[in-house]
Symmetry: C2
Subunit: 213 residues, 2 copies
Amino acid sequence: MSTAFNCLFFYFPELTKAGVCMKALEDRIRAEGKILPGPVLKVSSFLNHQMDADFMMELGAELARRYAGAGVTKILTIESSGIALAIACGAALHVPVLFAKKHRTSNVSGDLYQTIVHSYTHGTDYTVVVEREYLDASDRVLIVDDFLANGKAIEGLLDIIRQAGAETAGAGIAIEKGFQEGGAKLRESGLRVESLAIVERMNAEGIEFRAES
Amino acid sequence: MSTAFNCLFFYFPELTKAGVCMKALEDRIRAEGKILPGPVLKVSSFLNHQMDADFMMELGAELARRYAGAGVTKILTIESSGIALAIACGAALHVPVLFAKKHRTSNVSGDLYQTIVHSYTHGTDYTVVVEREYLDASDRVLIVDDFLANGKAIEGLLDIIRQAGAETAGAGIAIEKGFQEGGAKLRESGLRVESLAIVERMNAEGIEFRAES
């Protein structure tokens, strides 16, 4: 879907039920994003600490619009900051949302799919688990997350989907760091990746987005 | 709001936009809830591991209906399993949602409100943090969480609201374990607590709900 077509919705608000122009996300990132060492793009004012609930529903609806007709039966995300976008997308697609838990808690019982994810942010490995009864070979899964950088979290979720024998419809991301290798690697592997905003470069001068985002 | 009045919506589906009959939640708990030692009420099939997105939006809308006119400016929850209900409620009230993070990550910078919460489930204390810039004395806060049992998580969030000098509108809960002391203690302290379902007793024979839930 070209930016030009998406942006029709910006000029015809009555169409925004079907899809919000994601220029709105780029504008929001430009207005509120802070660049920290890493580089980390901090968007805690609206996306992953404080969350603009109305805007989150629009982001979820836009991902749902892009994956309409893709046969999605379930959304899979990873705690914590992917949950809000995943539930917004699930509500728009009318499918259940499953979140991988970052470690085994006493509330997780029975047979589990599990995999290890490396976190560059925290410099550690962690285990994520999904109960087997909620994912099986009959599912066609859309992975949703707030960020895509090195792609390690998504690779972990793909491993869980593989263990379940399920199909993957693709990944739906709010913000992709296009200057890190995750998105390119995942697309090269054949995965459909839809990112609502792709940051091409960011530095003290500002943030530049990939045109096709 | 009496159960009888709530249940009008059950018979007049056209009214469900304003409020879903929470008999639906009790029915769902009866049908899918599993009682584990603790006792733990496991509702991972629709509430806090796999999540029924459409139903979550209904639960959030019902909490929003109960707090309509209460002057809520912000919703505060705690990661991870409160986030979905909080975003559903925030979307219905059109207010931002803030989630307390369970430990300091590199993405949380600057001045923080922090407090310590004791988890009976895990037998440990943990620190939760909220960035100061997202909560201040101008806010009137609705606390949202999926479960209320001993009330320790909500006490922690109340402490953060106190540190911010903000007001508390109340708490909105999906499932309260009425046989644990949290709900009674919080209500005695003067807090408004709205629980969509209150489990009075649960054992091998079944689950009994408090009539006024």
